[in-house]
Symmetry: C2
Subunit: 190 residues, 2 copies
DNA sequence: CTGTATTGTCAGTTTAGACTGACGTCTCAG
DNA sequence: CTGAGACGTCAGTCTAAACTGACAATACAG
């Protein structure tokens, strides 16, 4: 730990720089900093790592490392690994970024998009009910409100379709489609 | 304000339900709650609104409303409106969700994606330099690290391309391309 | 089966970010 | 030109989330 050599250990420095960038990307993505750092370190490390090595390497508490690993496993981007004759549990990350991204999108869809879409439809249904249960000027206003909510719901629905196409296609094909699309619609305006 | 009728004002209730849903969507998207609520209310309101009306309607402070409006204007989804013979400033929201989404993606790209991509390339460059400046086993390890960082950078670059195609195409075409793509590449594997 | 090494959990603390409210600045009707 | 009304800002307060560290549960070598 205290060997002077460590201070300028190039491998460590290379890792640290990447870990910070990934961590920031994770935060933009709504994932907390420690989780991002753990994920980055596991991505870079060829061997699998145990909780305490992670905690020590990243200077975070054992508890934090454990919780972060739990999150990453729930996201499906980290696997448990056991070695015969070794009591410890090790963890390793999915190494292909596209696979990782695909998994993440699928999980986000399930956790976040689906529930919020249900609530959106509820809100639209409530608006429709309210407008049908009224009359005169009030009815007109409620109908206008309902129209706006439906408009937003339509947008949201198309957005979900977009996610679904991505999930169905897989990344290789996705990229190809996009490249083709880019040629079909070159430097277009808005 | 205190009229009992207000308690069951259907218009208000319809608005509130939608506002809460939008607010939650905003938070998933990394936008803070008040900003989301202000945006939702402006989207629903046909007329433009002034700061104090917003604050009163949403039960937030004047300062909070003002800051939220500033944010929304920086995102380019809310416009200032002045009425002749009226000292107040009013605000109104972009009413087309796709336009709003497009603007938001463009802004996020500028603010978040571009800077983080630069740092990613820096990290990759640093890794390459470190590997070239070393030898033996250490060099081999650094080359492996560099390879992984490049792999991630390639992924990130493709992702940005994807964003760019979206920005260039506009939403109508985007949706069409996706629908076509879905037919061309049905149920594709990874 | 037992003891110990290891992982998992969670109450309490810390930290980061949001919100308020008071104040300074600006604008325009009179 | 003046001042009342409206907007913008920001220091201080509050809130929600992250992190720690100690303890509980678990698993497995011996």
């Amino acid at each position: 730990m205290n060997e002077p050599a460590d201070i300028r250990d190039p491998q460590r420095e290379v890792e640290d720089r990447f870990i910070e960038v990934w961590s920031d990307i994770s935060q933009l993505w709504g994932v907390n900093k420690s989780v991002g750092r753990v994920h980055a370190l596991l991505y870079l490390t060829p061997d699998s790592l145990d909780i305490d090595s992670l905690a020590e390497r990243l200077q975070i508490s054992h508890g934090n490392a454990s919780t972060s690993i739990r999150d990453l496993m729930a996201w499906g981007v980290v696997r448990r690994v056991t070695k015969p004759g070794d009591r410890k549990t090790y963890f390793e990350a999915e190494k292909d970024p596209w696979t990782w991204f695909h998994t993440t999108i699928r999980e986000r869809r399930r956790r976040e998009v689906v529930p919020v879409m249900e609530r959106l439809h509820e809100a639209a249904g409530f608006a429709e009910g309210a407008s049908k249960g009224s009359k005169g000027a009030e009815r007109k206003q409620l109908e206008e409100l309902h129209g706006k909510i439906e408009k937003f719901a339509d947008f949201a629905h198309e957005f979900v379709d977009l996610i679904d196409v991505f999930l169905a296609m897989g990344h290789g094909r996705m990229a190809k489609v996009f490249r083709t699309a880019a040629k079909l619609f070159p430097k277009g305006g808005s």
